[in-house]
Amino acid sequence: MAGIKVFGHAASISTRRVLLTLHEKNLDFELVHVDLKDGEHKTESFLSHNPFGKVPAFEDGDLKLFESRAITQYIAHRYEGQGTNLLQPDSKNLAQYAIMAMGMQVEAHQFDPLASKLAWEHVFKLIYGLTTDQAVVAEEEAKLAKVLDVYEARLKEFKYLAGDTFTLTDLHHIPAVQYLLETPTKKLFTERPHVNKWVAEITKRPASQKILQ
């Protein structure tokens, strides 16, 4: 049995999205390290896993996938019966599912573009010997503040983004949030009480701690 393989980098936000899901589900897997600094993700060998040359790529037996949010959704459905339930409590309720799907789109289109830019400026640029552009930081933080105002209103009504239970919608945010909490951008989260509480909840989960090791 070939089992589950993740081709990625343990520090990458998108790879971590997948690792989190596997840990939440208590699934065994092999992380095959892709050396991003060396450009391994642009080699022919990696491109056969993901033609877009981005980590992560994924295998489960003979199924090959890429795009972290497609991978996490596959895992959540395929292994629905085990570990943490990452779907809505009634997985057959289509209205509830749609609300979770909506939250996943919000993460992908409203939150992540800003959060990733900020993580790049504050964290990853330094690893590559580049300097943070404070003007970009200010601009992106202003936009992120508006997004988090919407989250604050939402989390006043519900414990988690898609309702009262932890789902993929929350999980998809965790890797970027973890990075931003180590930067000055942290204040955008801590100064909003319900967002702050949600952040504390999702980052203290055992799976969330595992990916930091």
């Binding site: 877009f52 996938l65 795009e67 991978i71 596959y74 573009p113 997004v147």
Partner: protein, 215 residues
């Protein structure tokens, strides 16, 4: 009276995405215009439908949704027995491949292609000028994505599998706009991509969406 209401405008790519899905499913709906010029999408009552202040929003009975790609997925699931099937038939593994290409459209294609459409078309509508350097840089990125599409469509009739799915549909609005500009050359110069564009834009449901723009 239609139980499905779409709040948006026929010119908006995201609204068109939803309208395409509704027409494919042969569903009755009411399109409620949102006065974008007056900034209605950034105020109440629209913000109660979508707190991010973007069109479209959809109401189906007492369910309210926003984010066009979540709306189309809901339409595909809730009305799976009506009209065209918009997901690959099959088990988890087949559905997973559809999700891959849905994410490709949302994460790899759209961020680049919609910026080109903005530069070439929408800027002009708002009295701004196209930035040719920006267009060139964006097209440089788009061709790399389209090369991957060309390889994919050499192995599969549509992006996710051999049937038309939401993964193809989601591309229609932006492709529609780009095909009316010089950027169309990028699609036309790649035989499999060109064939795929012709197939998906020829669908009767899509023609109905384009018709709405003319009204």
């Amino acid at each position: 009276m239609a139980s499905i209401k779409v709040h948006g405008v026929p010119m908006s790519t995201a609204t068109m995405r939803v309208l395409a899905a509704l027409y494919e499913k042969e569903l009755e709906f009411e399109l409620i215009p949102v006065d974008m010029r007056a900034g209605a999408h950034k105020q109440e009552p629209f913000l109660s439908l979508n707190p991010f202040g973007q069109i479209p929003a959809l109401q189906d009975g007492d369910l309210t949704l926003f984010e066009s790609r979540a709306i189309t997925e809901y339409i595909g699931d809730e009305y799976s027995e009506k009209g065209e099937k918009l997901m690959c038939p099959g088990c988890n593994k087949v559905k997973a491949l559809t999700k891959v290409w849905l994410n490709v459209e949302g994460q790899q294609f759209d961020p680049i292609a919609s910026k080109i459409a903005f530069e070439r078309i929408f800027k002009g509508m708002f009295g701004m000028t196209t930035d040719p350097a920006a267009v060139q840089e964006l097209e440089g990125k788009l061709v790399r994505v389209l090369d991957i599409y060309e390889a994919r469509l050499s192995k599969s009739e549509f992006l996710a599998c051999d049937c038309f799915t939401l993964a193809d549909l989601h591309h229609l609005p932006v492709i529609h706009y780009l095909m009316g500009t010089d950027s169309k050359a990028l699609f036309e110069s790649r035989p499999k991509v060109c064939e795929w564009v012709k197939k998906i834009t020829a669908r009767p449901a899509w023609a109905k969406v384009v018709d709405l723009q003319k009204q």
